[in-house]
């Protein structure tokens, strides 16, 4: 009951946030210099034709009117048409988002699954060999740029060793994607029992996931380590020890739950960020996600597409934070509705 109340309250808070975001998005993309009308015209277009196009796109109306029209459409799920792909932006995004979601989520899960235990171990065995290894790995992870790491992995693991397929997107060129249910290839191929598609898409995921995971894992490990160290040095851990609680229980019951609180916010931050598409990685691995779509739309000044993308990214961000807030609420009894 308490939880429901909390969730309802948080959801209400989202309305002004998203409204503010929509205003900012709309304003910024319309005050940028450059006229998108010229993308539609040739050298011999007459001023009359230009005016007609401007009118057709609604660009002759005052800015606030344009905003209200746009907002009304957005609320009806219509993000407008992309001037570049001539398709509905909402459809464009929905087609590409699963690719980003799949890559990001798998990479984040890998980073958490490795980073949290590694951070805990390096705190528990501080200054031991495992701490030193983790320090090395994380130093590498924070200092190596992802584009370089991605290219290196492609060079070594595809070009030299032929372990993984070339960076040609989500699935082998000669393999047809699984029937679309969720848009996530791994899930869809499992659901339809399409093993060929599953294995191919898993292999295609491997390199971008590795790249993304290593970059994400580094700060998670460091944060987990310092958070764990802080908790292990706290009075209540000392008190638990003085009460004869065995080390294993101290680490996994008393300390871990407390130590997870700080990195949780960071994970949310990273996840929210990555769900908006990681432009660099999607580009290197020819990954048909929304990051690449956004990049291409920006280059051609495709207002509707850019607005739609930023709005989607903002909604994703806010949703991730909502989930994390709810998690905090469940884990930490000190947080009240």
């Amino acid at each position: 009951m308490r939880l429901l109340q909390y969730v309802a309250k948080r959801l209400l808070h989202l309305i002004p946030v998203l409204l503010g975001v929509s205003i900012i998005i709309f304003t910024i993309s319309h005050v940028l210099p450059g006229n998108p009308v010229y993308l539609f015209v040739g050298i011999d277009t007459t001023p009359e034709e230009i005016e007609a196009i401007t009118k057709r796109l609604g660009l002759d109306k005052p800015l606030h009117e344009q905003y209200l029209i746009w907002l009304g459409n957005v609320l009806r799920g219509d993000l407008g048409d992309s001037w570049f792909t001539s398709e509905s932006v909402a459809q464009d995004l929905m087609r590409r988002f699963p690719a980003t979601f799949e890559l990001t989520t798998v990479a984040l899960l890998v980073a958490i699954a490795l980073g949290v235990p590694l951070g805990v171990l390096s705190a528990v065995y501080r200054n031991s060999w495992i701490d030193n290894i983790s320090r090395g790995v994380t130093l590498l992870g924070v200092s190596v740029p992802s584009f370089w790491l991605g290219l290196l992995l492609i060079y070594v693991l595809f070009f030299l060793l032929r372990i993984f397929p070339p960076p040609s997107g989500r699935i082998g060129l000669l393999i047809s994607p699984p029937d679309r249910i969720t848009g996530l290839y791994l899930v869809d191929s499992l659901m339809t029992g399409n093993w060929k598609a599953f294995s191919s898409s898993a292999q295609h995921l491997a390199l971008p996931v590795m790249t993304q995971a290593l970059v994400t894992l580094a700060p998670i490990t460091r944060l987990m380590r310092s958070s764990m160290l802080e908790v292990l040095g706290s009075e209540y851990i000392q008190a638990a020890r003085a009460n004869g609680v065995p080390d294993r229980q101290i680490y996994f019951r008393d300390a871990l739950r407390n130590a997870l609180l700080a990195p949780l916010t960071f994970v949310a931050l990273v996840y929210g960020n990555l769900l908006g598409g990681s432009v660099v990685i999607e580009r290197i691995f020819a990954w048909p996600g929304i990051g690449r779509y956004a990049l291409e739309s920006i280059v051609v000044k495709d207002y509707n597409a850019v607005q739609g993308f930023v709005l989607l990214a903002a909604v994703l961000y806010v949703t991730v934070f909502l989930i994390v807030d709810i998690l905090y609420f469940v884990i930490d009894p000190r947080i009240t509705a």
């Binding site: 209540y236 020890r241 004869g244």
Partner: protein, 342 residues
């Protein structure tokens, strides 16, 4: 059943050295400390912050935080040398034979678990009983430490309880073991005076009735006079004076103890409160000779050069002072402290 008598020693600490290896140098937090605790008695361990009181306690249960290390010494509990115990054996001692109460009750409780959960977990670990048995035992213990409505309070989180209530929870947890030795590290520092009195009363009643021993760490001499049978005074990692409370308060022999007593507020005598001049010395660079000599109004050359040994100062009363041992011929006048105050 052994009789609780004056001489029935439960815990004996001999030549304990605990050092902290820091970048600035070695901190001799506990330096050749020896004392005994008797059954059924509460022994006060007093000294200023940084005198090594808490580290002494942590050394007994072998939970000294890094970079601290027990360098040498013996700790005999009920005829067993704890220093010869393995990690696992020591863990079986903690929370069973020795329990500890901490200074900041709220900080000493895990914020993410209910207090009932925390008490019953300790009971369950120790007794190996079922969850529900441990839970009902926990509620009984909470009732025993006079927590009103213990069934409801058991499901409260530490942040939902007052500091005094949290300290009762800690006391309940510590006493649920019926420990041979209870170590209380400034358990009442953060509490109001009335709550403080209640918690002290609780500790006293339980220690006396169970015939266990209690090491009560405090810097409050008033509490020591009220609660304890014996007192150990520490300064800069060393025991400088120890003996029965009645003896020490009536005839303090070490200048530091005299200073501590003179600096407590007394309502029955009309005299100004004096302070001990100076501060606790830098732990890495302790003064030569007697560590107290820079602050001592009676210090002579010998005090600067040679560290005094523990000597008899009265019945069951020892101290480290060249004047008491007679190597420095000088009278210690009580007025010296009043002069300092003026």
């Amino acid at each position: 059943m052994r009789q609780a008598s004056q001489q029935d020693t439960l815990l004996e600490v001999r030549g304990l050295h605990t050092y902290f290896y820091t970048y600035e140098g070695i901190v001799r937090a506990v330096n050749s400390v020896s004392y005994g605790l008797n059954r059924g008695e509460i022994t006060g361990l007093v000294g200023e912050s940084g005198s090594g009181k808490s580290v002494t306690a942590q050394s007994i249960i072998q939970l000294v935080k890094a970079p601290g290390k027990i360098v040498s010494g013996e700790v005999w509990l009920d005829g067993e040398d704890l220093m010869s115990f393995s990690q696992d054996e020591m863990q079986a001692v903690r929370g069973r034979k020795i329990s500890m109460i901490f200074q900041e009750p709220r900080a000493a409780l895990n914020p993410l678990f209910t207090v009932g959960d925390q008490i019953s977990r300790v009971i369950q670990l120790r007794e190996g009983c079922t969850r529900s048995v441990a839970e009902s035992h926990a509620v009984d213990m909470m009732r025993a430490v006079e927590i009103a409505d213990p069934e409801r309070r058991a499901s409260a989180y530490p942040h939902e309880l007052s500091g005094g209530m949290c300290q009762r929870v800690m006391v309940a947890m510590a006493l649920s073991a019926n420990p041979l030795l209870l170590i209380a590290d400034e358990p009442t520092t953060g509490l109001d005076v009335t709550v403080q009195a209640q918690v002290l009363d609780l500790i006293r009643t339980r220690v006396r009735s169970a015939g266990s021993a209690c090491l009560f760490i405090t810097h409050d001499l008033g509490v020591v006079a009220e609660l304890c049978e014996r007192v150990i005074v520490m300064y800069a990692g060393r025991v400088v004076e120890q003996g029965p409370v009645s003896e020490i308060f009536a005839r303090p022999r070490h200048p530091y103890t005299q200073g501590l007593i003179a600096s407590t507020l007394r309502v029955d005598i009309d005299k100004p409160i004096s302070t001990i001049p100076g501060t606790v010395p830098d732990a890495v660079h302790l003064p030569s000779g007697c560590a107290f000599h820079p602050r001592c109004p009676f210090a002579e050359d010998l005090c600067q050069q040679e560290e005094p040994a523990m000597v008899e100062a009265g019945p069951d009363h020892t101290t480290r002072c060249h004047i008491v041992s007679g190597r420095v011929k000088k009278d210690m006048l009580e007025e010296a402290w009043e002069l300092e105050a003026a």
